[in-house]
Symmetry: C2
């Protein structure tokens, strides 16, 4: 019922934005996109809306694109079933929301001690990652490609300082995906909540701590009202990407040109959202410090070592799930080491020397 | 004469590849692309050809795209004048080849101690970099956008080990842009040669050393025949991008949709080429070591400190060139520090901890 109500609302223009050229909409192919982000959410929400508009623009009216934010057509975590069933054509989401369906989905967003966005892109596009994603998503009637990225996410918001691995014992934290399982191994109690529900749970004390994205995205979430300690780059989501998940049968029926339009728009936005966050994080971190008195901290080596031990246990459990989970983990870990080693010798060697010589960091 | 000869050759299909749909070519807008890379050059050349094909594909026949590699229509370093004059519509090049026309062009490829590709993208797209590029290119009748990237380039190929800044004294090296000026400050003698002419100069001894790109691109250049020491990430080209330089008047006459097609294709390839290199560098570095006995080295801290001092002098000279050069340098250095500091606190903090815990690098 709720779905039909919102669909009707959308047709009246109340809940969604029709982006195609009206004159061409009659002969256009319908592309209904359902998203896990609230409407106009700074960062992720705006990125998904920009993507929908770009697909409409590049298709020059060939797609009638309608975009529904979280809750406008279906709830944030219902988009997977909505698209798998063919009721909508595509979702925008972080695929690690679906680890309950299959733990392999985590690798197609980001996993603890995993790849940065650039490393992940190299794996997905040029070292077999997309084929594994296709195999996994295909089991659920989906075809998913990258469409957004955040960069290395902040370690999270805490109401106390984290000085040893023991400080996670008994901590109630919102942290999804395999990162959440790492915190559980360290004695925490974790939940996965959609972005739109975190604030109320943090302020009410239902959770003690949360991670979200990084300074630009986090600024608007007001987590500092309940948690003043903000940790820099964490272990749980070093990079990777968000997914544009399409109904597989619908995707297979597209022409090569229609596929090219969607792919180009998704890959363009995948880069744009990552770079936009890197461009804006500095300004918003400063505002968090100056306006809200946020205390910025780094996790120390002991904490990182604790993360590492717990992560190793989590990956063992993932590999025990199924042959496909093991195949994905094998490929991911091997490519992480090969690509990561190379980045270390070139880009990271430069960055560490530059930062030393110029006094950055 | 040479230009007309190659143009005729192209019309006969001998020197270029016509990519548009033949049936639509009659009403299509001509887009002749001239490139600085030899045909089928692994890495950069293939990337530029892929971009030309993608523009044709996304435009669905609206552009009649013809691509000419270096020397097929004009010489590599003649593409700037070819496009500025309107004789061709676009070039693919590294804009730092044009530092003789204006030193500000260096910042729109890569400069010593500058930004990584992601940092540069953040500046270009979201912190005013593109507007400065437009101002500079506009002075020459051009509009240039990013269309390719290599990642942090290797320090170069040398026939001796580099153990102190003094080892650059008297060294003859192929290294373009401001990086070349840094080596000159350190007592070297530098030249800028197109990619297709480096090998013969190195083997003949006309130069003692050269930089090119990184393991994947460099593997095919066979520089190891004359220079066995290969240095990892260098100071001279930490990232940034290649440029798709369009005749400004032609660009201004495009429809919004035509501009969107070109922009989406260029930004997609800008990401793809960078990530392809990161995906393949590991394999090709191993082949250089195993098949050719290449000796891999890092520059030590003394050498990096020497690079830093020489770079500071070079930037002072650039700033003295003109008001626009000073404006570009001011913007670049400020954004490098803001974005670079933020990357250091998030992505680099993670990468260094990950590499420590997992033993990478």
């Amino acid at each position: 019922m709720e779905r039909r109500k919102f669909l009707k609302g959308a047709a009246l223009g109340a809940g969604a934005t029709a982006l195609a050229t009206p004159a061409l909409a009659q002969g256009a192919k319908q592309l209904t996109i359902v998203s896990t982000w609230p409407r106009d959410f700074p960062g992720l929400g705006i990125s998904a809306q920009r993507l929908a508009a770009r697909i409409a623009e590049l298709s020059d009216g060939a797609f009638n694109v309608e975009y529904f934010a979280a809750g406008e057509r279906v709830g944030a975590f219902d988009v997977f079933d909505e698209v798998a069933s063919g009721n909508s054509q595509a979702y925008v989401a972080a695929d690690y929301y679906w680890v309950g369906k299959h733990p392999g989905f985590a690798y197609f967003t980001s996993v603890p001690f995993g790849m940065t966005t650039v490393e992940w892109n190299a794996w997905i596009k040029y070292r077999g990652g997309q084929a594994l994603w296709d195999e996994l998503a295909g089991e659920f009637g989906l075809k998913t490609i990258p469409c957004g990225a955040t960069g290395t996410q902040a370690g999270g918001w805490f109401n106390k300082e984290i000085e040893s691995p023991d400080d996670f014992r008994g901590l109630k934290m919102r942290i999804p995906g395999l990162g959440g399982q790492v915190i559980s191994k360290m004695g925490g109690s974790t939940v996965s909540l959609p972005g739109g529900q975190i604030y109320e749970n943090l302020v009410s004390g239902a959770v003690d701590a949360t991670e979200w994205v990084g300074p630009y995205n986090d600024y608007f979430m007001k987590f500092y009202e309940a948690a003043q300690y903000y940790y820099t780059g964490g272990m749980h989501e070093p990079g990777g990407g968000l997914g544009f998940g399409m109904n597989r049968a619908w995707y297979d029926g597209l022409s090569d040109w229609e596929k090219a339009v969607i792919e180009a728009a998704c890959l363009e936005e995948h880069a744009n959202s990552y770079e936009e966050a890197q461009a804006l994080n500095g300004e918003y971190l400063q505002r968090l410090i100056d306006e809200q008195g946020v205390q910025v901290r780094n996790f120390n080596d002991d904490v990182w070592d604790g993360f590492g031990e717990a992560s190793a246990e989590v990956f063992e459990e993932v590999r025990d799930h199924s042959a496909l989970a093991k195949k994905i983990d094998d490929a991911f870990q091997a490519n992480l080491r090969e690509i990561g080693n190379m980045m270390a010798q070139f880009e990271i060697t430069f960055v560490n020397q530059r930062n030393r010589v110029l006094g950055l960091g």
